[in-house]
Symmetry: C2
C-alpha cells in the first residue's frame, strides 16, 4: 500500500494546487458508477474496509519522494511541495454506504470531503478498490441466486488479475453471498471459510487413482472430495463409491455435467452413499449454474472460478470519482461536468431508499423531508473511525436481506426494467442552474 | 507476497504428500494457455520477473503457520508437517520463455521442476502472475498495432482489479509496446515512463477554465496537455489555442472523437499551433483506435484505460499448470490428463519456432534435431538465477521484433487462421502410449 499507487496526474495536480495556493480548500468528491453493465440489475457495494485502511495509513515514504523530485514534470514546482508531501496524511472525512448495500447508477458508493490535494490523490486507489470488489460481490450475488440455496464457493484466485486481486475477490465474493473461498490468505486476513481438497495433479502424482483417493480420505476424513475426472469420470465415480465412508462426496470438473452428474448420482446411490454429495466446477457462472439445474443436473454445490474472480462478463464497472463541491471562505461552490456524453450531478448526495425506488437528494437536505431510508453514513471524520466497521458476516447478511427486499424482477438473471433512481426537486433545480451558468 | 496467497487445496495436497512420504519426489509442472481468446491471434508472455521474485522469497511466516495448524482439514496431519512448512523454501528449477515472446496454445510459458510439495504450492501465484500480465501485454500489442506508430499510454489503474493489479497492468502494457503508464508506483518499481497531466476536477476546482489552463501551463510548460471537454469542447479548444506556447497540446475525453478532433485540429492550426498535438482517451481499445483512424480522426496519441488494464474483451486467458513428469528413483514417469474436454500433453516441452509455425518437442529431445529456435530457457536452477533477467526495455524490444517476425495475418485485429503448433513425432508417440495405458 504505497501513496505512489496512484495515477501520475493526481501528483501533477497536487503540485499545481500547491503552487496555486489551493492546498487548504476543501473539496468533496463522489465515487459512483455511471451505468450498470447489461448483465447486472444491481450492484453490491464492497471495498469499504480496504478504503478505510488505505486512508488511515496514507503517507509518502522518503524514497518515493526522492523518486518524484527529479521528474521533469516537477521542474517548476517549489521544493516546499515535497516537504508538504512528506508530511501529508489524510485528514478528511469519508461517507459511504455500508458494504453489502445494493447500489444503482449515479448513487454515491463513497464520498470524500478533504483538503483538495488529499481528496485528489486518493482517487485512483479508491476507484480500483471499490469498483473491483463491487463487481465481484455483485457477480457472486447472481451466482448465489442461480444456485437456489446450494452453496457457491469462490475458486478463482489463479485467474484473478494478479495475486492480490485473488485475495480481494475472495473477500468480495463472500460479501456477495458465497460460502467461502479457496484463497488461503483471504481466509487468514478476513476469517472467511476455506474450501479445497485436491487437484488432478494429486491423482496423477500417485500414479494410481485408487492410492490417490485412499490417501486423500486418510487425510481429510468426512471432508474428502474425490475429484473423479482425471482419466474416466464414471470409473472415478465407481472408485469413489467403493471408498465408502467417510467422504463428503465427489467433484466433477469436465464433460457434460448434466448427464455425468445423474450417472454419478446413481453410482453413489447404488453404493448406499445417498448422503454423498456432488460438487461441480468447470467454467461455471450464474447462467451455466441455472442451466444445469434447469436441465436436471444432480449437483449439491458449485465452485465458481474465473468468471467470478474476474467478473468475466463485466470485468469493469464504469466507476467514477467526481468533484461535486468546493468550499472556500465559508461558501460552497457546487461543481459538475457537462461534457456531451458524460455529465455529472453537482453536490454531495444522499440516497433515500424506498421499497420500489431510490431518490437522490443533496446531502444537505433534511432527512425528515424524505420517507426513504438514508443509506450514506459517515465513516471517517477527520480520519477517525466513528465506530468499528461491521464484520464481514454482517456485510454478507446485509447483502442477503437487502437483495431480498428489492423488487423481485431485479433478482432475475436477465436484464430487467431498471430500478428507478429519482432526483429530488432541490437537486434538479441546482443542476439546471449550474448547467446554465457553465455552458452558456 | 505471502506463501498463503495460494489455493487452499495446494496446502491440503502438501499435507497429503508429506503424509504419504512423497516430499522428495521431483515433479515437473508446465504453465500454458489452453486456447486463445477469439480476439487474440497470439499472446505476449509477461510476468516472469514477478514469478522469479516470488519463488526466490517464498517462505511461511510464523503467524501463517499458526493460522493453518488448527484448521480441521489438518486434523490428521502430523505436526512435523508444520515444521516442514516453517523451513520450506523453493529449491527447484524454473524454465521459461523470455518476457515479450509471442506464445500459442499448449506452449509452455514456464516450467517448474521441484520437489513435489514446492512445485504444487506455487501453482496459484504463478498462474495469476503469468496469466494476467500475459493478457495485458497481448492487449497492449494489439492497441499499438492499431495506433500505427502513434504512442499508446496505459491509463487503466482506476479500473484495474485492485490497486496492485494496476501496477502490473502498467508493467505488462509497457512490455506489449505501450510508451508508458499513468501508474506512478509502476514508474518507480519498473522505471517506466509516466504520463498524465490533469483531470476534469482540475478545471472544476479552479472554477474558471482559463485560470485552470494558465496554472497548468505554468506548472508543466511544454508538457502541458489541456483537457478541453469539461464544459464545451470547442470553447475549450479555442481557449487552449489562445494559451499559445508552450504546450504539448490538448486532450479529448468525450463526444464524437472523429468530428471533434478535426474541428479542434482546425482551431489549433488557425492559431498557428500546427505542432500542438491531440491526445484521445474515452473507453478506447484497439478496435476503437482503428475505427477512429479509418474515419479520419486527427489524433496523435492514445490513452487506453479500462479495456487495457482489465483486458476487457478477454479478461481471463485459460492458463493452466499441469503435472507433466514425476521423477522417482532415477526414473521418469510421464503424466497427462485425459478427461473428456480438457486433455493435456505429457512431458516437459520445448518450443521450436520456425518462420511459419512452432513445433512442440520434449525438452529431452536434442535441439539439433530441430531447425527452429528453441524458446524455453533455464531461468532458475536450484533457485539460483542463471543470469540477470533482461531489462523491461529489452523485453519490450523483444516483443516488437518478435511480433514483426510473425506471419502477417496474425497482426490483423480480426481473428486470423491460427498459427500452426505442431507436435514432434516423439511427443506424439509418448502421448498415444500414455493414453492407452491410462484410459483402457
Amino acid at each position: 500500500m504505497s501513496a505512489l499507487n496512484t495515477d501520475f496526474y493526481e501528483l501533477t495536480m497536487a503540485a499545481g494546487y500547491f503552487m496555486a495556493g489551493m492546498s487548504s480548500e476543501i473539496a468533496t468528491f463522489e465515487l459512483s458508477v455511471r451505468r450498470l453493465p447489461e448483465t447486472r440489475n444491481f450492484l453490491i457495494a464492497a471495498g469499504l474496509a480496504q478504503a478505510v485502511e488505505y486512508l488511515q495509513n496514507l503517507r509518502f515514504r522518503e524514497e518515493e519522494i526522492e523518486y518524484l523530485r527529479p521528474l521533469p514534470q516537477f521542474r517548476n514546482t517549489r521544493f516546499e511541495f515535497f516537504d508538504f508531501l512528506q508530511d501529508l496524511r489524510f485528514t478528511g472525512d469519508l461517507f459511504a454506504v455500508p458494504e453489502g448495500t445494493p447500489v444503482f447508477p449515479n448513487e454515491p458508493i463513497a464520498i470524500i470531503r478533504a483538503p483538495l490535494i488529499e481528496a485528489q490523490l486518493v482517487e485512483t486507489y479508491l476507484l480500483s478498490t471499490f469498483a473491483f470488489q463491487t463487481s465481484v460481490a455483485s457477480k457472486a450475488a447472481r451466482c448465489v441466486i442461480a444456485a437456489e440455496g446450494r452453496p457457491v464457493v469462490e475458486f478463482g484466485s489463479r485467474r484473478a488479475h494478479s495475486p492480490s486481486a485473488g485475495i480481494f475477490a475472495g473477500r468480495a465474493a463472500f460479501i456477495g453471498g458465497c460460502s467461502g473461498t479457496s484463497n488461503t490468505e483471504a481466509g487468514l486476513l478476513f476469517a472467511i471459510p476455506l474450501f479445497g481438497t485436491a487437484a488432478h495433479s494429486w491423482t496423477m502424482a500417485f500414479g494410481s487413482e485408487e492410492k490417490a483417493f485412499r490417501c486423500l480420505q486418510e487425510l481429510l476424513g468426512e471432508r474428502t472430495v474425490f475429484l473423479i475426472d482425471t482419466y474416466d469420470t464414471l470409473e472415478g465415480a465407481r472408485l469413489a463409491a467403493r471408498m465408502g465412508r467417510p467422504q463428503w462426496g465427489v467433484r466433477l470438473d469436465s464433460g457434460d455435467l448434466v448427464s455425468l452428474s445423474r450417472q454419478v448420482r446413481r453410482i453413489l446411490d447404488d453404493a448406499g452413499l445417498r448422503d454423498a454429495k456432488i460438487f461441480a466446477t468447470n467454467d461455471l457462472d450464474e447462467q451455466r449454474i441455472a442451466e444445469l439445474l434447469r436441465n436436471g443436473a444432480c449437483l449439491d454445490a458449485f465452485g465458481v472460478g474465473t468468471q467470478l474472480a474476474t467478473s468475466g462478463d463485466a470485468p469493469a464497472v464504469g466507476a467514477v470519482y467526481k468533484l461535486v463541491e468546493m468550499r472556500q471562505n465559508g461558501g460552497v461552490q457546487f461543481t459538475a461536468k457537462f461534457s456531451a456524453d458524460k455529465p455529472t450531478l453537482p453536490g454531495a448526495k444522499q440516497i433515500y431508499r424506498y421499497p420500489d425506488r431510490d431518490v437522490l437528494g443533496l446531502y444537505s437536505e433534511c432527512n425528515r423531508d424524505f420517507q426513504g431510508e438514508p443509506l450514506v453514513r459517515p465513516v471517517l471524520l477527520k480520519n477517525e473511525l466513528l465506530e468499528p466497521l461491521p464484520s464481514i458476516e454482517a456485510s454478507q447478511a446485509r447483502a442477503k436481506s437487502s437483495i431480498a427486499a428489492l423488487p423481485g424482477r431485479l433478482r432475475s438473471l436477465e436484464q430487467s426494467e431498471p430500478y428507478p433512481v429519482e432526483i429530488s426537486s432541490t437537486l434538479e433545480r441546482l443542476t439546471d442552474a449550474l448547467r446554465r451558468e457553465k455552458t452558456t
